[in-house]
């Protein structure tokens, strides 16, 4: 049992957890034909149930999972898995049907018309009542946890954002607050608003498909499942006091230490590569990082436009292509920075604490 728990704790270490999830997502999309067979979803739900049953006896696991404010995350976990499966499953079926020249599953239905009343409004109303009743019962059975009176001098440890913002809070591990807390959320909002203008492809409207929109769906899955849902789960269950990482079966010890051995890019360049101390001039010191960023944001779009994204550039036109590319690059910066942190302990690409400018 201890072996199992240790193995799980090991497996859930952020790097492994994130990369493992990425690989799993890739595998799911790649081998969706096989993996979306009902037996797999049943098996995965069975495995998850088993995991919870086994974990239940562990007081640390138990105390985290049964915290009243963590219950929605458990529900989120199962619904995301279920709906991902459902969508993919139907995509697979639809893609097969399209290949055979048959209409999609939804396509068959869409020929029929239904009435707003009662088919839509009445059913929605019933759902509202049912869910309200459910919420009432939930609030009776699992009362909201009341904490101590808040005090300025004493912040709770860990201090956690509301569960839906835990993904953003996780980014704070890798980025400065102004990027993680201001810039990236801004880009998320702008990016979401820009979708109708960037993605004018009508395919997949009203029916499930993967084959027709492989890039869009994969991109969405990475963004939502990997960077939002998984981070929420990570933040809820695996981040404890001092935002330290704790395995599911680990005691949340406020004294746990984690090494802080991250190094700036400028140090790598000047000290590591050139074997000399970092120059005093800030701009000179940070030149490698600044140049890399310029390269990343200014050179990559035209370069990609000339090469692998040639089609995209011609299809979208210069403006839309550039907007899209920059949003993409900002998005890509997140895993890039995370990978750099994990692999070479990179602290900042550009680190100018003198000006509060760190990337």
């Amino acid at each position: 049992m201890e072996l199992f728990k240790n193995a799980v704790d090991w497996l859930f270490e952020p790097t492994r957890y994130f990369l493992g999830s990425a690989v799993a997502l890739f595998a799911l999309l790649k081998f969706r034909g096989t993996l979306t067979k009902p037996v797999f979803i049943l098996a995965s739900f069975a495995a998850m149930t088993l995991f919870f049953v086994i974990g239940w006896s562990d007081p640390d696991f138990n105390s985290i999972v049964t915290k009243p404010d963590n219950v929605p995350i458990i529900i989120l976990l199962s619904t995301v898995i279920f709906f991902t499966w459902l969508a993919l499953r139907r995509s697979v079926i639809n893609d097969e049907r399209t290949d055979r020249g048959e209409p999609t599953l939804e396509g068959e239905f869409s020929k029929q018309k239904v009435f707003t009343w009662p088919d839509l409004v009445y059913t929605e109303f019933i759902c509202i009542i049912l869910f309200t009743a459910l919420l009432v019962i939930w609030s009776i059975e699992i009362p909201a946890p009341i904490e101590e009176p808040a005090a300025t001098a004493r912040t709770p440890n860990p201090s956690k954002a509301p569960w839906y913002f835990l993904g953003l809070q996780e980014l704070l591990v890798y980025f400065d607050p102004w990027i993680a807390g201001v810039l990236l959320p801004g880009f998320i909002i702008v990016g979401l608003m820009a979708i109708p203008y960037l993605d004018t492809n009508p395919k997949g409207n009203g029916y499930y498909t993967f084959k027709e929109r492989p890039f869009a769906i994969s991109f969405f899955m990475v963004g939502f499942v990997l960077f939002w849902v998984l981070f929420v789960i990570l933040g809820t269950f695996l981040r404890g006091p001092n935002w330290s990482f704790f395995g599911p079966f680990e005691y949340w010890d406020p004294h746990k230490l984690e090494p802080l051995v991250n190094v700036d890019l400028s140090t790598y360049f000047w000290v590591g590569l050139l074997g000399q101390p970092r120059p005093d001039s800030i701009l000179l010191r940070e030149a490698p990082g600044i140049l890399s960023l310029i390269g990343f944001f200014l050179l990559l779009p035209p370069l990609l436009g000339k090469t692998i994204c040639k089609g995209m550039l011609s299809q979208m036109g210069m403006v839309r292509y550039n907007v899209f590319m920059h949003l993409m690059l900002w998005f890509a910066l997140i895993p890039v920075k995370m990978l750099l942190r994990w692999t070479v302990n990179l602290k900042y690409i550009v680190g100018i604490p003198e000006w509060f400018f760190n990337v």
């Binding site: 562990d58 007081p59 640390d60 029929q112 239904v114 009435f115 009662p118 088919d119 009445y122 059913t123 109303f125 019933i126 009542i129 049912l130 309200t132 009743a133 009432v136 019962i137 609030s139 009776i140 946890p145 009341i146 904490e147 101590e148 009176p149 808040a150 005090a151 300025t152 001098a153 004493r154 709770p156 440890n157 006091p241 005691y251 406020p254 004294h255």
Partner: protein, 1208 residues
């Protein structure tokens, strides 16, 4: 809705879904309301209501109540009869009423007429007066005006007549109703005693259906927000707050919602939560010092005051079984989000500290645990390393090491530092080296930055001890002590040693506690552990040092508590000879394996230590510091030693040259109790203990949820939080090991838990100047160990009377007939053991024990009276406060010096003079035997005086001067009041404390004297004074609440019956009335029939009457040769006027035995008017006149000489 047939979902099906879901929603809503309504506290309130109903019914069913009900029934009948009688006179009444009605009409008319007439008269008068002035016509309308006036007066007269008629008529009507009114009032009053119970019962247990239904509706789910009968009780505390987001939130305690009767007496035997608070005299009730509406609950108990659920309130228990029950019943666990769980019962006194910081000594009786913790915190010098911002004691607890080279050898210092307890098991100095985190056989570090050899804990510590020793010895400067000027005599020294007072603070208890030692020198208890145990001391100190130390301790250590005994050189030399020659074998006795020897150290280890300590400074610094002396062992030792001293905090306790300005090493504890648990470094202790005790994960986590276990572990094994940790030698924990016992750990923990953020002090309990000085004085009394020699408060004996009733008197045990020393008053067990051994030794049964009252005890007698009680009737014996040393002195005078012969295992007495058996040297150098003297005489003459009610006796200013520079009062005493080194205000505080204690004790003594004088029981006095017996008993017992409220009534009663008693001390300033010019002038007037003034009369009386000068010194001169042996000497009478309070001397002269039972001073003036003596010296005088004259002389003795009126 009908099914149209063309919809996707069938409408009937949707209807069914709609119905079901709505139903579910409705059920959920009802469930929500009921869930919200059903709270555990309501059940408690209902339970308590049942208790109250049962009590109310029982009360109404009692005999008294039944009699009242019977009364009521009878009175109701009477009322009915009276009403019937009234009914029968209906016509008469109607007539009278009609009469009254008509007369009232007439009254209205006449009154109105009078008013009008008065208005008209006033108006006309105004007009006439105006006219007369303006037209200068003084007689204008004279007659008319007179007419108006007559008319006005006539109407007024008529109105008055009619008023009288109305009043008569009213009275007639009232008279008819009188009988009924009286009957009604009687009925109303008859049941008054029960009305409270009845109205309560009517409220909580109504018998009428409408109220029952109303109550049901009031408490109905969903309606109970309007005006429920079960409701949340809260105490809102305006000035006790929580910190909450830039603001301070009022504390709101809702504890009384479940603990309903907590502030009401009478529920002591109920189950929780229906129990009364155990100390209602101190807490919660309106008259107690901590009323509930000002203090609430959580400020003392902690826990979450706004929680209404057992677990959420964060209750706490130290009783494991109870904890399991709670878990079972309430799913009880620590509230994770509440930082201040309820204090466990054993720690609850911790909360006293937050308000009583400045009055810790004053609360010692009521809060013994936390004050013991506070005193331990001081005694063990915790404050020296751990700052506590308000802690009153600042001195370094350990001796100065500035001149330690004079005192002892380097080898001794080394072996002492290595293990102080090996030499002196009872020392307060903790063990610093050779502790678990530098375990002997574990590798501390690998030398040469990990390239050299492993250094083991043993080597590390040996080198450290050598280094510290080297530094301390080299830093010490010599005081160039002169050689001892005279040769000492060891045997005489042994006597001086016992008599001069050494044993008051020191003992020589053997290493392995021998339980049955009779030599007081070998006993350990309380006061004589004030200084170190002196066993083995001769192996430690040099004779020269010892001589100079005893001669003037402050010269060696300015902050020492050892006083200057003002001994002559010969006495000191004798003591030194006694200690160094050690005929008894106490002072050279050392523990078996102990020897004065420094452990060898290894040079490599020392170098490695230097590397660790100086690495931050850099190699260059060491080089600079040591110069070329890196190879010089001594220099290296010194350098490393200094670092070790600063590292281990030796300088916090000891003055060590070169380290005076260094900061103490411990964490500040000023608000440790407010520190949250997650800020404590638990190390791996939870895991280690879990392994040891086989705890599961839950128990392991539970261990870390409270502060208390951490603290207990830290105190017991200070360095255990290092276990299994990898640390470099400089990071390891440094707190030394004190070898605390469980009780010390408990008390210190309680104290430290009470060190919380100062939140209450500003709001509550600002002590006044009197409380502050008393507290300060009591602290000094404790720190100077006054109680070792002086009895400050009498002991208390509790015994059973003939009818099984329990009495408590303040008294002392008398010497038994065949034994010169009285049995000891320590506790009941000790007394019974003493009685048993006495019976065994004398082969005789002890039928009764005598004890002498030290305070008036109505029913038993006045102070000095003797009470006899069979030993088995004694229920408790509380030792007096202080006076242990008295036994040493009296034993010496009566028996000689007690010694122990190890060969025969027997104790025997010897004296210095071999010619005369049992003789001891008196102060005049004569050898006398006191074996035949009564115990009392020896005790009052040679032993340190008792200080009972000393504040009442002494003038505060003189007391203060005396403390600062003692003058000999009883010249015959060998033990002398030493000269203490008082800090700022300390002597003044002691004098003030005694005065304040006297003020505090006065009401109780007054009440006892009053009752004693009247020979009444409490009930009788209470009835005579028209007070409640409870209040009278309260004043007698010194209850502050009863005294503050009701003493004036008692004083008024005493005055009314002519009882006189001396007034209380004025602790601020007292003028001496007998020295005021008016009084002196009067005293110098000639007294009729004597030819002398009162002052001369007084002098003559003193000299010739009771012959005061036979025993008393006067103006520094001893009584004339041959008039009295030193044993009868008494203090200088010339000091009286500046030393004693006149009230006290007045009482003293009447009856010395009432003040000091057993004193040798005779009662010279008879209170019996028929037996007045000395009328030949003072014709036609009463005893009172004579005493008055003596007092006038005593207080003006200095004036007498000036005026040339001295009398032979």
């Amino acid at each position: 809705m009908a099914d149209r047939g063309d919809t996707h979902y069938g409408v009937p099906t949707l209807n069914v879904w709609f119905a079901l879901s709505s139903l579910l929603f409705m059920v959920a809503c009802f469930w929500m309301v009921i869930d919200d309504w059903s709270r555990p506290w309501k059940q408690y309130q209902r339970e308590f209501r049942e208790i109250e109903i049962a009590r109310g019914r029982a009360e109404l069913d009692s005999e008294v109540a039944r009699a009242v009900v019977e009364d009521e029934r009878r009175l109701a009948e009477e009322l009915e009869a009276a009403e019937a009688a009234l009914q029968s006179r209906e016509e008469e009444i109607a007539e009278a009423k009609e009469d009254l009605r008509l007369k009232k009409g007439e009254q209205f008319n006449s009154t109105e007429a009078a008013k009008v007439a008065k208005q008209i008269f006033n108006w006309e008068r105004y007009l006439v007066e105006e006219h007369r002035i303006h037209y200068d016509d003084p007689t204008y309308r004279e007659a008319e005006l007179a007419e108006y006036e007559r008319e006005f007066l006539a109407t007024a007269g008529e109105a008055e007549r009619v008023d009288l008629m109305v009043a008569e008529a009213e009275a007639r009507l009232e008279a008819m109703q009188d009988a009924v009114d009286e009957a009604r009032l009687a009925l109303k009053n008859a049941g008054k005693s029960l009305d409270l119970t009845r109205s309560k019962l009517a409220r909580i247990d109504p018998e009428d259906a409408p109220t029952q239904v109303a109550n049901l509706i009031r408490d109905f789910p969903g309606l109970d927000f309007i005006g429920p009968s079960l409701k949340v009780n809260k105490v809102v505390l305006e000035d006790l707050t929580f910190e909450l987001n830039f603001t301070r939130k009022k504390r709101i305690d809702m504890c009384t919602t479940c603990h309903v009767p907590i502030d009401r007496a009478g529920f002591e035997n109920e189950e929780q939560p229906h129990q009364s608070h155990p100390r209602l005299d101190l807490f919660l009730t309106a008259k107690s010092p901590h009323p509930m509406n000002q203090m609430g609950c959580t400020i003392c108990h902690r826990g979450s005051g706004e929680a209404l659920d057992f677990t959420r309130a964060d209750h706490n228990t130290s009783d494991e079984a109870q904890g399991e029950d709670w878990y079972h019943d309430f799913h009880w666990h620590k509230q994770h989000h509440w930082d201040y769980p309820m204090l466990r019962e054993e720690n609850v006194e911790a909360s006293c500290v937050q308000c009583h910081k400045d009055t810790m000594e004053l609360i010692a009786d009521e809060a013994p645990e936390v004050t013991e913790g506070y005193r331990n915190f001081e005694r063990f010098g915790c404050y020296a390393c751990h700052k506590v911002d308000w802690f009153p004691t600042k001195r370094r607890p350990g001796p100065s090491l500035r001149h330690v080279g004079d005192k002892t050898s380097a080898d001794f210092v080394a072996s002492w530092i290595a293990a102080p307890r090996d030499f002196r098991p009872t020392t307060w100095m903790p063990q610093i080296f050779h502790l678990e985190n530098f375990a002997a056989d574990e590798v501390v570090v690998t030398s040469e930055y990990g390239l050299g050899r492993d250094i083991l804990g043993q080597e590390w510590n040996d080198a450290a001890v050598a280094a510290v020793t080297a530094y301390v010895m080299d830093a010490s400067t010599s005081q160039d002590l002169d050689p001892i000027p005279v040769e000492g005599d060891a045997f005489r020294g042994s006597e001086v040693f016992r008599l001069a007072g050494c044993l008051a603070c020191h003992n020589m208890a053997p290493f392995e506690g021998e339980s049955d030692v009779r030599d007081p020198a070998l006993e350990e208890r309380g006061p004589n552990e004030h200084g170190p145990n002196l066993r083995g001391i001769a192996t430690k100190v040099t004779p020269e040092w010892l001589f100079h130390w005893i001669k003037d301790p402050a010269a060696y250590w300015s902050e020492t508590r050892m006083p200057d005994l003002r001994l002559p050189d010969q006495d000191i030399a004798d003591i030194v000879a006694y200690i160094t020659e050690d005929p008894d074998g106490y002072f050279t006795d050392v523990p078996e394996d102990w020897e004065v020897a420094a452990s060898p150290y290894d040079r490599t280890v020392l170098e490695e230590q230097a590397r660790w300590f100086f690495s931050r400074d850099g190699r260059q610094v060491i080089q600079d510091r040591l110069g070329a002396d890196w190879s010089d062992d001594r220099a290296l030792l010194r350098a490393v030693g200094e670092k070790f001293i600063l590292n281990q905090g030796c300088h916090s306790c000891h003055e060590i040259p070169g380290t005076e300005d260094a900061q103490p090493i411990g964490a500040e504890l000023s608000n440790w109790g407010s520190k949250t648990v997650d800020k404590l470094d638990w190390g791996f202790m939870a895991d280690i203990l879990a392994e040891e005790h086989g705890w599961d994960q839950k128990e392991k986590l539970e261990y870390k949820k409270y502060r208390e276990p951490w603290l207990a572990q830290k105190l017991a094994e200070p360095r255990s939080f290092d276990r299994r940790k990898e640390k470099n030698p400089l990071e390891k924990l440094k707190m030394p090991w004190f070898d605390f016992g469980q009780e010390e750990i408990a008390s210190i923990s309680t104290f430290v838990l009470g060190l919380v953020d100062d939140e209450v002090q500003r709001a509550k309990m600002v002590p006044d100047a009197k409380e502050l000085t008393t507290d300060h004085g009591l602290r000094v009394i404790r720190q100077k160990n006054c109680a070792a020699c002086h009895v400050i408060e009498p002991g208390e004996i509790t015994f059973e009377g003939e009818e099984g009733e329990v009495h408590k008197v303040r008294a002392e045990l008398l010497a038994l007939p065949d034994e010169v020393l009285p049995l000891e008053m320590r506790d009941l067990d000790a007394l019974h053991a003493d009685v048993e051994s006495w019976e065994e030794y004398f082969e005789e049964d002890l039928d009764e024990l005598g004890f002498r009252l030290l305070e008036p005890a109505p029913g038993f007698g006045e102070p000095g009276s003797t009470v006899f009680v069979a030993p088995d009737k004694i229920r408790a014996v509380d030792a007096p406060w202080g006076g242990n040393f008295v036994k040493v002195v009296t034993d010496y005078y009566l028996n000689g010096q007690e010694l122990y012969d190890a060969e025969t295992d027997e104790y025997f007495y010897v004296t210095a003079d071999p010619n005369e058996e049992g003789a001891v040297q008196d102060v005049d150098g004569e050898w006398r035997s006191f074996a035949e003297e009564p115990y009392d005489k020896v005790r009052w003459t040679y032993a340190p005086p008792v200080l009972l009610a000393e504040g009442h006796k002494l003038q505060k200013e003189w007391f203060y001067e005396f403390l600062r520079a003692p003058v000999p009062l009883r010249q015959q005493m060998r033990v002398k009041m030493p000269t203490f080194h008082y800090g700022e205000d300390e002597a003044g505080a002691v004098a003030a404390a005694f005065a304040n204690m006297a003020v505090k004790a006065w009401p109780s003594t007054f009440a006892r004297e009053l009752r004693l004088a009247g020979g009444q029981t409490v009930e009788e006095l209470a009835e005579a004074a028209d007070m409640q017996p409870r209040i009278v008993a309260g004043i007698e017992a010194g209850d502050p609440v009863a005294t503050a409220a009701n003493l004036p009534d008692l004083l008024a009663y005493a005055e009314s019956i002519g009882f006189s008693h001396s007034p209380p001390v004025d602790p601020d300033f007292e003028a001496i009335d007998r020295r005021t010019p008016q009084h002196v002038a009067e005293a110098f007037e000639e007294v009729e029939g004597t030819g002398m003034d009162r002052i001369s009369l007084g002098h003559q009386l003193a000299a010739v009457g009771p012959q005061c000068f036979q025993c008393h010194f006067y103006r520094g001169e001893a009584p004339a040769e041959g008039s009295a042996d030193p044993i009868a000497w008494a203090p200088d009478l010339y000091l009286t006027r500046e030393r004693l309070r006149a009230d006290w001397v007045w009482e003293w002269l009447w009856a010395p035995g009432r003040k000091y039972p057993g004193t040798a001073m005779p009662a010279n003036f008879s209170p019996d008017p028929d037996k007045v003596q000395y009328t030949d010296l003072y014709p036609n005088s009463t005893s009172g006149d004579q005493i008055n004259a003596v007092l006038d002389w005593l207080y003006n003795a200095d004036r007498e000489a000036v005026d040339g009126l001295a009398v032979q």
